[in-house]
Symmetry: C3
Subunit: 154 residues, 3 copies
């Protein structure tokens, strides 16, 4: 790994802002703030979901921030979700950036009086863009590496 | 998200120290270093636990660093714990800071010869304070979003 | 926790590079890039595995980067792995560094037509070294705190 000898205060600010964007997505999802969640995306964003893993055909693709409304509203079906964020590796290129970010998304719900948990192991392959000094998701490719569902007891 | 154009070396140091505080809490918990864990808190700290999630009545509140002793000693009942830390979103305001931090706390124990695992999905809503150049927990609000318990096989 | 009042751009670059090294290990493991994974280590690296937890006898120790080949190739037996990285606490000392890093390593595989998941809760106690401006693993001590295996339904 080549390492620049200094991380400039400007680059450090960009890296922090992009990490906060990733984490704000989780916060808004888990707190059901779908308007806040949409505001993290550019107006002409593209959101592509690969339910069968990387390299598979996209399950669906959404164009434009407004098209995200039903996706985020869909989270309301769960009693609780926890979008637990792990590593996020970012490559900066001026006002653009790309990255791979890991999330374990936990979903709790009830079927026939029985509590269930579904864990989705996600990797987001993102493109970010900086507009007027703020970073946004320009494109999110959501890779579902695997899911695991079972009955859950508190 | 508004993004400052530069992250100053002073702010970067504060952010690193607060992240290390969060991670030291996990390290001390998992290594059963209850004295080290207590030392992360201000003397007049407040620790409030919400077992029934955010917005519920507090299950209990502890005032002062010494009141934490039984809480941390309680971890000794487990054969192993892993306080796995995810995202931590911090807002700095001079010598104070607030933040939301995610932890998946894994607890292993044995009942009637059967190994059990209990996973608690936690969010810490913290207030931090900087005293004589070091950061401490001034207040921790521990939100238990959900727990999941089951038999476990190695 | 003593806190330096400033994090220099040079130290920030070192910390970022070491975090990226930790995350690159996970990326290479999960994408089955064993050559890329080996390149993260010094030529004379030492890799020691403690399957029975910290303080136990080493299960095995490997000397030299080339000795890692079978370990990383071994990951190919799994249908999917997710090396989910949490906190990483680093102490810098010039061109050397040490640290403790948490990983929840998820392994999916099939036995007699039944999908299984094995989760290993790992802590890496690492020594890092900077050579010609790039950081490498000089020594990895892999502590397996616990594992948890069960049948898994998507």
């Amino acid at each position: 790994m080549t390492t620049p000898s200094e991380l400039s205060p400007a680059e450090a600010a960009d890296r922090l802002a992009i990490r906060e964007l990733f984490d704000a997505y989780a916060h808004c999802a888990d707190r059901r703030d779908s308007e806040g969640q949409k505001a993290l995306f550019t107006e002409d964003t593209r959101f592509v979901v690969y339910m069968a893993g990387e390299g598979s055909e996209p399950t669906y693709a959404l164009d434009g921030r407004e098209a995200l409304t039903p996706v985020f509203a869909d989270l309301r079906q769960y009693e609780a979700t926890t979008h637990f964020n792990g590593q996020s590796t970012i490559t900066l290129d001026g006002d653009k950036a790309t990255g791979e970010s890991y999330t374990l998304a936990h979903h709790l719900f009830t079927v026939d009086g029985e509590r269930k948990i579904m864990i989705a192991s996600l990797r987001y392959l993102d493109t970010f863009v900086k507009i007027d000094g703020a970073w946004y998701f320009a494109e999110r490719n959501l890779i579902v590496d695997w899911t695991d569902s079972r009955t859950s007891t508190p």
